[in-house]
């Protein structure tokens, strides 16, 4: 459990939004879309681990 994870995800989001603006200004909308997709996948990796941790904790607490 570390709170830094939230700041990491927020930083990633702000970084991707800035790069997106640059790419759209350079008329590269497809690559901006790809960048957003990659960012979502990276965050999804973390989210899946957290969901797994929550399910394991609930299972151990309530005795499934």
């Amino acid at each position: 459990m570390d709170i830094n994870l939230i700041f990491k995800i927020a930083g990633l989001g702000i970084f991707i939004s800035i790069i997106n603006i640059v790419l759209i200004q350079a008329n590269k909308e497809e690559q901006a879309q790809m960048l957003t997709l990659v960012g979502v996948i990276i965050v999804l990796m973390v989210v899946i681990q957290l969901i797994n941790q929550l399910f394991t904790d609930v299972r151990s607490v309530f005795g499934f």
Binding site: I6, F7, G13, I14, S17, V43, L50, V58, V61
Partner: protein, 130 residues
């Protein structure tokens, strides 16, 4: 104190979500999901303490432990189901959220059948036969 941790975490992450939401709503949604997961994981240890206390009381009172286990399972299913329904509703999928809630209700009903049957048997024993 865990309450300061949770409230501070929620306020900071909602500010960050407002900043990110204008440009990339997908990552803003994931950030809110992660914050919710953090809060639930932080609070589950306290829930465990409460469950342990109730279990001790149940053992002292001499009630059948099977009923306690079933009730705790139902509480866990409601915990997970409510979380999933809220997340899907947050993502704008109201239909999915309603279906999750329906599935959780059916699972709870299924788990409650043994308790219901034992209750009905007790009532039938109480009725005098003519």
């Amino acid at each position: 104190m865990i309450v300061f941790k949770i409230v501070g975490l929620a306020i900071i992450s909602s500010i960050l979500i407002i900043i990110i939401k204008q440009k990339i709503p997908e990552i803003a949604f994931l950030l809110s999901l992660v914050t919710g997961l953090f809060i639930l994981i932080l609070i589950i240890s306290q829930v465990g303490e409460v469950v342990r206390l109730i279990k001790k009381l149940v053992e002292k009172a001499g009630i059948d432990i099977m009923y306690f286990n079933t009730i705790m399972k139902i509480v866990g299913i409601a915990y997970i189901g409510e979380f999933g329904a809220e997340i899907t509703r947050d993502a704008g999928e109201n239909a999915l959220a309603t279906k999750i809630e329906m599935a959780v209700k059916i699972i709870i009903l299924f788990l409650a059948i043994p308790i219901m049957i034992s209750l009905i048997e007790t009532i039938i024993e109480l009725i005098p036969r003519f």
